[in-house]
Symmetry: C2
Subunit: 334 residues, 2 copies
Amino acid sequence: MRHRLKDVAERAGVSVKTVSNVVNGYLHVKPDTRARVEEAIAELNYRPNLSARNLRKGRTGVIALAVPELDIPYFAELARHVVAAAADHGWTVLIDQTGGRREQERVAAAGIGDHMIDGLIFSPLALTADDLAALDGLPTVLLGERVDHGPADHVAIDNVTAAREMTAHLIGLGRRRIAAIGDQRTPEGASARLRLAGYAAALADAGIDYDERLVAPAPVWHRADGAAAMRQLLASGVRPDAVFCFNDTLALGALRALHEAGLKVPDDVAVAGFDDIEDGRFSVPTLTTVSPDKEQIARLAVELLAGRLAGDREAPPRELTAPHHLTPRESTHP
Amino acid sequence: MRHRLKDVAERAGVSVKTVSNVVNGYLHVKPDTRARVEEAIAELNYRPNLSARNLRKGRTGVIALAVPELDIPYFAELARHVVAAAADHGWTVLIDQTGGRREQERVAAAGIGDHMIDGLIFSPLALTADDLAALDGLPTVLLGERVDHGPADHVAIDNVTAAREMTAHLIGLGRRRIAAIGDQRTPEGASARLRLAGYAAALADAGIDYDERLVAPAPVWHRADGAAAMRQLLASGVRPDAVFCFNDTLALGALRALHEAGLKVPDDVAVAGFDDIEDGRFSVPTLTTVSPDKEQIARLAVELLAGRLAGDREAPPRELTAPHHLTPRESTHP
DNA sequence: CAGGCTTTCTACAACGTTGTAAGCAACGTT
DNA sequence: AACGTTGCTTACAACGTTGTAGAAAGCCTG
């Protein structure tokens, strides 16, 4: 029971184009013609066929958001903000879950629904700049650190500064044996590299030696990895009095491992995370963290995309930095 | 630099339709013609325009998933499974976030991208059966409890049984003063009603009186609401020795409030949740919960939709029940 | 060798929409 | 009276694709 412009036109006794004009808010339509058409639209419950409209206009009104995993809270929260920001522009968001796998990300990069989307906001893990080149004209905004001088617009927070501030916060509490969890030496580990650099810089600022035994790798940044890394640190005999985890889920895992080891947080070991996910506000203890302004990240990304779509397709790639701040909570405050 | 069938056809020296046939895997194409066409496709990096294809075929290959909030872990995890199950059918999933607001849900129900999607998997909070009637032919599968005898296919777990089992589990630990958190008397609170019914049934089974003072309402089921409800229960002077929270985020909030009140879990108060979200596996203490088989829910939903799309549009609505089980963890085990 | 089948390919129309150009009144200006 | 302007409406073509119908050529069957 789907109706077309033609059905409405016949019912209202006007041409198809006049109905189209009414639907699109064209000005020069006589009030009583408009009324008749609107009545017919209501009676038939007419709604435009977007595929046809898109075909005609070359625009779909849909943008895609590609993230590694939806059930990683950071991405879920980010997705929420992107959907909200896109709604302000009248766009629908198609959310794609890449799993961080390179193949799947290439599919996303290749344009998902091919011509089905006007633009792409992309938080890649495994993708290279070359893969992105394959986007071939699809306006794209990158989030996160993976491809930081790629061919596309880019939004991120200043990871080095944020990590440096957090480490300095721990030092300010009097801690000196500060561990770091989340090191990654793979090409995908750009965030890890930046955060590690900030950590090292803060140690240097305070004249504390960088001790490699205090730096624990974590191939993925899930809770289980944080717990495993923490256990390993404890087992190795190095006795940290603080841990800076490169994201909140790692930190929540570390909290869990410390609890199992009978250590008190923050008395024995202070713990800090990164991302400010909802969970950290209700954990026991609540989690000190770096709070990226996710709403701002989403808004900037959508606006960059809007700019591209509005015309300046050929402008050079822009790099925007979103604000962040430190959120001290119980895990570092007695 | 987007090319069309016509461009490929010219390059390969064949008709547009022959290229279409190659693209669609039509059988009767001479091998060397096919090769020439494929070469041209590769050279031009041709990809079909889905809007045009959809217009022609009346199908889009996109289904929508509408959930209240993406950053509620249960929905994020569910979304992940739906995306995976849909991928097996070659579908892309458009994820829509309704915010649980009736207006927004109506928009979702009205077909989101209007003609842009082939079907809808919908987890409504605020919607009535009448609103759903407005779907007007769009194949739809409902998740959750809101409209349990509506006009559409429906997948859910047996909430009453699950809640009864969990309450029985608490009784089996020797607890007698078992509180419930998450009561809702609003029309949206169908899940709450079912879970409360299961709770009451288990108490009756064990010959324990139902005490209204032990039942705490929670208008929304976020962590903050769970914490608030728990604080209020404690302040009211009723001294529960166990709490059954109607979902995991409520339970995590309750854990937090108990911690603040200096009560030990599970020694002083046992805590149980519902949903088995990832967070509950790493909380301190880990959270006993009802585990709905989310993967199965997603798979059943997608398959119901597939059935409708394959033809039997007029079949009566089906009600499927997905399995669940109890997952005991530290919050009820010493 | 006529008739029919198969293989390979093509022309055309149609899906539902909107931009363009143009038509037709009614009005005001010279 | 002739002309331009403005307001409203319409016919037509086009967006890129695929289904239908059918043409052309080759092959088999009797």
